[in-house]
């Protein structure tokens, strides 16, 4: 199988002076399912490639089952990819750290989860949650430096007064406060990349923006790069520099945030954008681009996964998954409607 590698050069990253911190190439994850002979496979993620620079936010947008959370979990090394490369600070970590992530990888790449209620231990105080990574990663010289550092981190994420918050237990905090503690805990080990998997979707609407603004502030002040996983394309536009759209485990389109939303090329991206509620247009007047639901990921047929729903489908779409085509500066798409049309990858 020839592969679609989207290099940092192809997705014109060269304009930025900041170094690429994390790059993944052809990241693929399959899960065996089914009977005794395990003959079937779920194609959760197929040949996904991208790079993130220092202080840059890449949003990965898609519906449930698109593979976006799988991508984050693979990079966090909570599970091993079926194939592909994860390159961090120039090293292919799947080669150099075969038996699991090293301490230095885990301090460089941190993750924030969707559920701020499930990601903390109810029997431990806030201070404990932030001290643990400080101790494990030897981030402070003396024991006496621990608590001041905890307070400093809590103040950084806007939890005031820090000394009070440090003594609280998870159940005494609101969802937004807990998510801020989760961010402080990630910050404790001085990460370069934070994988944020739907970090605001379980929070009350009035406090979501506050958490996104905090993450944006840390990007600007500390230079943290984010992989921002979300189903909410409007929040991606707000927070991210670039957006990549996934569908059924495949990369479909990517561009700078404003370009992707202003000039979507892929029929699926157009569908996704048309589905976002818009109070200025009545519901019945919204254009219907396509109907139906995402396909099964178990042993999918060859070709583009969107072919079954695509209003502009051609014969070739059902046979061949198209390659990456650059259609504008910093804007690529995988669709037979663009470019020569048949220069794709046989699956």
């Amino acid at each position: 199988m020839t592969k679609t590698v989207l290099t940092a050069e192809q997705w014109k990253l060269a304009e930025s002076p900041d170094p690429v911190v994390l790059e993944v190439r052809n990241l693929t994850k399959r899960f065996p399912v089914g009977g005794l002979f395990r003959s079937k496979q779920v194609h959760a993620l197929t040949d996904v490639s991208f790079a993130i620079r220092r202080g840059e936010v890449l949003a990965v947008v898609g519906e449930s089952g698109s593979g976006k959370s799988t991508a984050a979990r693979l990079i966090a090394r909570l599970m091993e990819p079926t194939s592909g490369e994860i390159i961090f600070r120039g090293q292919n970590v799947l080669q150099t750290e075969k038996r699991g992530a090293s301490l230095s990888y885990r301090s460089g790449v941190q993750m924030i989860f969707q559920d701020p209620f499930g990601s903390m231990n109810p029997t431990h105080s806030v201070a404990h949650h932030i001290m643990r990574p400080l101790q494990i990663h030897h981030k402070v010289e003396r024991r006496s430096d621990l608590l001041p550092r905890v307070h400093e981190l809590l103040a950084t994420v806007g939890l005031n007064p820090p000394a009070d918050i440090a003594n609280k237990y998870p159940h005494e905090l609101s969802g937004g406060q807990r998510q801020r503690v989760a961010i402080a805990r990630a910050l404790a080990v001085d990460p370069e990349i934070v994988l944020a998997d739907e970090p605001i979707s379980m929070l009350d609407v009035s406090i979501r923006i506050g958490v996104l603004n905090l993450m944006a502030k840390l990007k600007k002040e500390i230079g943290i790069g984010y992989l921002y996983i979300t189903h909410d394309i409007a929040s991606a536009r707000y927070f991210a520099d670039r957006i990549m759209v996934l569908y059924a485990g495949q990369m479909m389109e990517g561009a700078d945030s404003d370009e992707l939303i202003g000039n979507p090329a892929h029929p699926y991206t157009k569908l996704l954008l048309s589905a976002v509620p818009n109070p200025e247009v009545a519901l019945g007047q919204r254009e219907v681009v396509a109907r139906g639901e995402p396909p099964s990921l178990i042993d999918p047929p060859p070709g583009c996964p969107f072919a079954a729903r695509c209003p502009q489908v051609k014969d070739v779409c059902r046979k061949v998954m198209p390659d990456v085509q650059t259609i504008a500066p910093n804007h690529w798409v995988r669709c037979h409607l663009y470019g020569e049309g048949t220069g794709g990858t046989a699956a």
């Binding site: 519906e63 449930s64 609101s174 937004g176 406060q177 009350d204 609407v205 009035s206 406090i207 979501r208 923006i209 506050g210 603004n213 189903h231 394309i233 409007a234 929040s235 536009r237 707000y238 927070f239 404003d258 939303i261 569908l271 996704l272 954008l273 048309s274 589905a275 976002v276 509620p277 818009n278 109070p279 200025e280 247009v281 009545a282 519901l283 019945g284 919204r286 219907v288 109907r291 639901e293």
Partner: protein, 337 residues
């Protein structure tokens, strides 16, 4: 958009009320949760009405009391929740006064409800047809099994599922299709009012749009009213005729949907509007609302929003504002007006 004409047999039962009277009239409703740590006033003195064919939206964050109101209207609140005051008039009858027999006839026939994640509440060992037949035969015992099954297939058709799938089990359908089945069940007895509590929150946006468009189409064809509950203000403005915004158990602002969108008056509503990034237009730095929703065991004095309010004045912590009509049809509970 589904284009099949809806059979007239599915239109709601004719209403005896005159056009001037609202279909549902909620008056000064209060609900309390009696917890071990003391009473929690989940809903305080809430009044609103819904007219024939109207979509009324209740917006608010988790814990604001919007689902509690829905459960109170259906009389399905469980201990420790207690209705401590008010009236719920449906077509002139007080739902809160009904006995069990009256309630059994009232639920599903007059008002039906679609719950959040209801798609996961379907019985996995019964076909979707059997679950619709169940509702029809329970309320209309004279219906034969075959008649009920034909109706079930017809109902599936009008919610956009092939009627042939009447013998499918829930696991054979996707999440979006299961939610459509739940809507078919809610339509089965031609109710005049449907309560939809976050009907699409657990679904992807594309599926959400399909289902909301289907509901809008059905509403036009069948002319029922909807009490629509969601935290998603954009969807609510798009779908509702009028909206009540709830905060900490109270309605703080109530007006026509587009008036609310174009001219929010309560600082809380203004804050909510500033909490949603837009997909179009200039990129602005949003501020959201500082702080968190209050602990309802010890709600703030005066206006419950005053600790988070950027425009609070001295009066706000002392005196509770009442919901007043400050412009025609625009009600606000705020000392600034």
């Amino acid at each position: 958009m589904a284009s099949a004409p809806v059979p007239t047999s599915l239109s709601p039962q004719s209403s005896a009320s005159s056009a001037a009277e609202p279909l549902l009239d909620v008056q000064n409703l209060s609900v309390e949760y009696q917890t071990l740590r003391g009473p929690v006033q989940a809903v305080s003195n809430v009044s609103f009405s819904i007219g024939q064919g109207e979509v009324f939206g209740l917006a608010g964050e988790s814990g604001s009391g919007k689902s509690t109101i829905a459960h109170a209207i259906m009389r399905i609140l469980h201990s420790p929740a207690v209705i401590t005051g008010g009236n719920v008039l449906f077509d002139g009858d007080d739902v809160l006064e009904m006995d069990m027999e009256g309630l059994e006839a009232f639920r599903w026939r007059d008002i039906s409800m679609v719950f959040q994640s209801a798609m996961n509440a379907l019985n996995p060992v019964l076909t979707v047809g059997e679950q619709i037949i169940d509702v029809i035969q329970r309320h209309q015992p004279k219906t034969t099994k075959q008649q009920a099954k034909d109706r079930a297939a017809e109902l599936l058709d009008i919610v956009g599922i092939d009627g042939k799938r009447v013998d499918d089990y829930p696991h054979q359908l996707s999440g979006g299709m299961r939610q459509r089945v739940v809507i078919a069940v809610a339509l089965a007895l031609k109710p005049q009012l449907m309560i939809m509590d976050e009907p699409t929150t657990a679904l992807d946006v594309v599926v959400q749009k399909d289902i909301m468009q289907q509901i809008e189409y059905l509403k036009k064809e069948l002319d029922f009213s909807i009490l629509f509950i969601t935290h998603d203000l954009s969807l609510m403005v798009e779908f509702s005729d009028r909206i009540g915004v709830m905060y900490a158990g109270e309605i703080v602002e109530m007006t026509a949907a587009h008036e609310l969108f174009n001219k929010p008056m309560h600082p809380y509503t203004q804050g909510l509007m500033a909490s949603f990034p837009a997909l179009v237009g200039p990129k602005e730095t949003l501020t959201g609302i500082p702080g968190s929703p209050p602990n309802m065991l010890e709600p703030p004095s005066g206006c419950r929003f005053h600790p988070r309010c950027p425009k609070a004045i001295a009066q706000c912590s002392l005196q509770q504002p009442t919901l007043r009509e400050v412009e025609p049809g625009h009600f606000v509970a705020c000392h600034l007006y």
